[in-house]
Symmetry: D2
Subunit: 436 residues, 4 copies
């Protein structure tokens, strides 16, 4: 976790105190049910909840100090709670194993993290939608291979981003669902010393579903899937970030990240406005992608479990969710405040002397009865002249002067092929599909 790429709400999920509070709730709920089942006296859970009702401070340092001696985190925690609660605390953790607590806690943390990320996605989607509607019919050149192709609208670019992040949201909803399971099944998952009803009860209290079969641990394919989905979301962030970076290039300059008055672009070149936010997001996307790998390697634990996944999760649990939260919020800010330059878009669109309309001419020639190959040749020979003139010559004028072309198409027909509106007649259809 890099502090400058972290926001407090997400960070709080991963702080020791938050973790210990979840631990307590799991233990207390479990003891509650054990009491109802008559396994422990009802005085056990009562003592726990009574103490909890006092809103006690969790003394993280004291627990850590115990862990240093005992070399076992859950035992250290239980010892500390026992000191606070008194002898009734001995009914905690009956028949449970540490992983019951640890894995269910991770499920709670990742679910909460997913909730924040889903809210982040909603914010991003809202920002994209607003700007998409604002620029629904703002013409701009569509580019394939970085080369001018045919006109699109800036709104369409954003509609694509919207659809992509909307898919990301659906994936995250599914991944959250997968990760939100509770396991209270004992040392090797057989419920040998604890009734499955305890698991069901704790799951219900925490808003989790029951893990159908655990083996001391919740199986790590769930986590692998979760972090893989974060990696896909990060890649979609990168796509949009790269788009902004391209648009802000000196030669293109169709859009810019918002530039605050106090900001200095460079220590040496005061005129520079660099797309540093989206460059930064590109790097963050690389990190979030990388975190999926060890999650995938974590799946193949030995037999009923080994603990190799644990050190990995201490890194990627916080790092992937905190960084993605930051990245989504930053991207929302970038889109929300993006400076968009429609005039420059039009200027760029026009600069190729009308070459972007060549596809329409080609089609018209074919429809006028010329073979595909011949039509291609006719358009190509004029297009090449425009190209070599660096956009100074006009494709329309050249075509009007080409007798083979005019034998097939009248001047009026040719002119109609250079009308920009032609390209936007289905924008509404696409918007309906996306924002419908």
């Amino acid at each position: 976790m890099v502090p400058r790429y972290a926001r407090p709400e997400m960070t709080a999920i991963w702080e020791p105190e938050a973790k210990y509070r979840i631990w307590f709730e799991i233990e207390a709920h479990a003891t509650q049910k054990l009491g109802e089942l008559g396994v422990v006296p009802e005085s056990g859970p009562k003592a726990l909840w009574d103490w909890w009702a006092t809103d006690p401070k969790i003394d993280v340092d004291a627990i850590d100090e115990k862990e240093r001696i005992l070399k076992h985190d859950v035992i250290a925690f239980l010892d500390w709670v026992a000191e606070q609660v008194g002898p009734e605390a001995r009914f905690m953790h009956q028949g449970m194993t540490s992983s019951d607590v640890l894995d269910t806690t991770l499920a709670v943390q990742l679910s909460r993290a997913a909730d924040i990320l889903l809210a982040d996605l909603d914010d991003l989607l809202a920002a994209i939608k607003r700007r998409a509607e604002e620029h629904k019919y703002t013409p701009t050149i569509g580019r394939s291979h970085g080369i001018h192709a045919e006109p699109v609208t800036f709104g369409l670019k954003l509609a694509q981003a919207y659809a992509e992040f909307d898919r990301c949201k659906k994936r995250l909803v599914a991944a959250r669902d997968e990760i939100a399971t509770c396991a209270i099944s004992g040392a090797v998952g057989t419920f040998a010393n604890i009734d499955p009803q305890v698991e069901e009860y704790v799951a219900e209290q925490l808003g989790l579903s029951v893990e159908p079969v655990s083996t001391q641990v919740i199986p790590r394919d769930r986590h692998a899937m979760f972090f893989s989905v974060l990696a896909v979301i990060a890649s979609s962030i990168e796509r949009l970030a790269v788009e902004v970076r391209h648009l802000q290039r000196t030669e293109v300059l169709e859009a810019e990240e918002y530039f605050s008055p106090g900001q200095k672009g460079s220590s040496a070149m005061p005129h520079k406005r660099n797309p540093i936010l989206t460059e930064n997001l590109t790097g963050q996307a690389r990190m979030i992608r990388a975190y999926a790998l060890p999650a995938l390697e974590n799946v193949a634990l030995w037999h009923e479990r080994d603990i190799s996944h644990s050190s990995v999760e201490r890194f990627i649990g916080p790092d992937a969710t905190i960084t993605l939260d930051f990245a989504l919020a930053r991207m929302t800010g970038v889109i929300d405040k993006l400076l968009v330059y429609p005039e420059r878009m039009m200027k760029n669109l026009d600069k190729m002397g009308g070459l972007v309309h060549s596809q329409r001419v080609l089609l018209a020639l074919t429809q006028a009865g010329i073979t595909r190959d011949n039509a291609y040749r006719l358009v190509q020979r004029n297009a090449m002249k425009v190209w070599e003139s660096d956009g100074q010559m006009s494709l329309l004028e050249l075509l009007k002067a080409d007798e083979e072309v005019t034998a097939a198409l009248s001047n009026e027909e040719l002119e109609e092929k250079f009308n920009l509106d032609y390209h936007f007649k289905h924008v509404d259809t696409i918007f309906d599909r996306v924002f419908g």
Copy 2:
């Protein structure tokens, strides 16, 4: 693709002829709809389908030869088809762009590949289920950290694998759904030269859904998600493969890959039966995981598209699906024919002098009123003697001889704690959850 790790049905999807057949179908369906819309004469699609009805052979070499000259695969194909069909073929591809064909084809190929993989998963699930029921109550030691923990059954191990691959199936169904989209939207996705109805028609004919917004290409977050799901499945294969490898170790030997009579284990050590199939699967899992990475990097294409994804997909499209198909089938074979040794399982379970029952004793002591810490100390001091005797001493006998213990628990109570059945009372519950 490595031929020895490939099966013909999956490989066929990726052969040039299969690809060209899909290309033709897309072009012909699109021309069909263009005819219905009156954009091209009905003679166009008729000529195409008439030719297709003759079940023509696709001359891959001839098309390849054209591509070498034209340096464009789709044009080469269209030229070749035009040679076969005659002048009416000029109505093909009107208003379309190459990517309309290429990307929709990839969608068809990946959907078909997913169908095979789903059938593979069904086979694997069936094999696991059969063996799980066979060994529902076969006792074996549960191990955490590679160390004996408490008893489980071999059926439970397989139930966990079943639940895991069942989740994999659900993920693949979702990923197949995501990948199965059709884009016929023209040069930059605006439908400038082709009616969206064509896309809808082709999608319907091919069993795909419509891509809501494309930009010459189908967005690659869909593919990133697809290959990430394959990576998760591969990791689950690795988990089960590693389990088998562990079970086959000389010192453990609770199960073995089937050993065919003609097979030589080693050129030098004829007695060796090596778990080479599951070791091999471990390596294949590494490959399938690796293929997800470039798929994730493919997402951030430039502007409306660049073609950097294409070379990646020429590798990972076939390699990931063919290898995973092979791996799933191999794993099914391994499970189906796995030699299971219940006697050895019981022998291993017993070898630790009853230490695996220490958890039960600990719990019983606590319930008998001893503090958690004291109970722990009592069990530990006897357990350590057993441990140091390498399983020659019996925990039960030692406990019976420990006065602090017997002050809390009678001999009968102690003996009851060493009863194996105690651990299996919820096996049925778990099986219900998993196989329902």
Copy 3:
């Protein structure tokens, strides 16, 4: 391996016949030394070499057929050789294990592959150097963050690429050195049944060094390092490819991939010249990078060896080397024939109204005694006007009209700051460092 991204010389290394020829040489050299040591009769090696001297064809199909029955590749091969050579062949493979042959063969294959890659790098370096010298003083704008910064020369861009690939070459020389080891040490690497002198002899004959300690297998950290170096080289290819792609963008167009007359850029837009070679290289770089991952996971083999590395290497051995060979050659072609447009470079350089010289003005103001902060403010206020005019206003003229500026610098001094040559005075120094 994708055939269209493969060249015959590299592919040949990985074909079965090449592999079997290396197998034979290892076996024959080993038998030769065993004969010299008196372990086997001299008639053994003689029979082998006599047969070899007849330049026999390797019947790959026959060996494969044997492998299908025996399920062991080396035994199948030895059987086939024995059929050809006769009873003296029984002295082959004495005291050896299959991995002695397989791992040493892989060492030979990877060394040969490295030799081709080193030659590829030499070709690429030569092409870059030639173009660098051609454009040593061709001015072009340097860009950071995609934004115009200060002038550089196109030769400098290439000098950087040269230095980078020169480092890549050094890394590959070291990696080749690491990978080129010979292990003939028997079943678990103890030389129990074979004298270490045999290993030394075979190593010498094959141009390899001796593996100091093997454990049936050559340790896989060597291979992990090798494929990691290929991944770094691929990333450097990507960097240069991305540079070309940027330069070929419509709005930049300072350079273009060579466009052959017969080539059609797009089925729909005949004017388009797309940087498809470098986009293609970008995708290939992603693949080659991905292949390093399973190589890294291969390191942690179990105990003296498991065979999980083998399936991985069947993929990445050929795929990584063949693809990188192709990519290096393609990149060499791109650079060799790159169309460079110095006029356009100058036009782009000038288009920002002289803003690129602002750093020099800033420095001059500071040196004239103005505080850094004030100098920054003076330059910034004029620079912003130029910026907002989209390069229509001239920074030089604005500065001359700014009294606070002219109080510190004369018109002549200001004009001197806009002289392009100023930036190139150390180009020769840099070229000396790089091409020395």
Copy 4:
């Protein structure tokens, strides 16, 4: 960075104060040389060094506060220094760009990190060597595929680890060399506003070499190589960790991680001694490997630079080096204090009824004139009986009773084949190669 996996010396390198101290030294050395060259008055560097000589505290909070306003870290730092030093500070940073400072600082940090890691490797090598010599002739069974193969010694296992980490050290020395370069070359690397002599001087003062050609930034292939080498080292750590984990398995138990008296293995199973340190190392290895990926993606910066690498390096710079430092130290501790059980090793070695000697018998039969295939058959049929008896039958006795065998080999000859010392006659040779 996860605090529990961090050691103070390495962490200190990455703390803000350490970074700012390096920044100052770079600026001051550069100003020193600028003074010598007459570019700035000698009073400039003097003022800087005079202030530095007072051993001033770096006020990190004050600099951070400035950065929040200025949104530029280097300018914030220079402002703060200027406040401390007074007007003479304006001569700092003349002709330099922020990246000159940032990239050279990263070079210093990574070099220092590499120095710590090299010392860590020395410690690890020393520990391995000591234990290797201690167990040079401790017999243990060699295993391939997890199956008993032939005898080795425990010292040989460690000799292999020594050789592997010795290679790691050589790689890190080379990677450190690559990363330790200094760039003071101005806005786009042309030295337009600063003499190359400044770069040479600063490099010399900081113990770095000169970057031959930079482009505002030091090229990131150097860093990609550096982090790739860390990934290889991590993989070697994983290999040794996995070995220990295997050896500590209940059924094997040939070695154990040191178990401190106060340590509780599990909250539920007091007898358990889990290899948690090496499991933990396995997870850490996954993380360090993952960090190499974004470093590889960082190579392809746009044009002369973009800043996407920066956020990546804020993560992986500290995280990879701190975690690897911790992992190496932890591994050293594990090896140093590893509990080794030679008796158990011998017991395991013997348990297969002598099957591990079958290779020797096979060889002897061949040398006695029996064809390879027949010898294989003879050994195999007896070996299978032993195998099926679970090691209760003795291969030696069975062979003595097999007439086809005794026709070729006398009882004495057979007995000699079961002598353990036979396998260790070249241990000294291997030790000489490795430790020589």
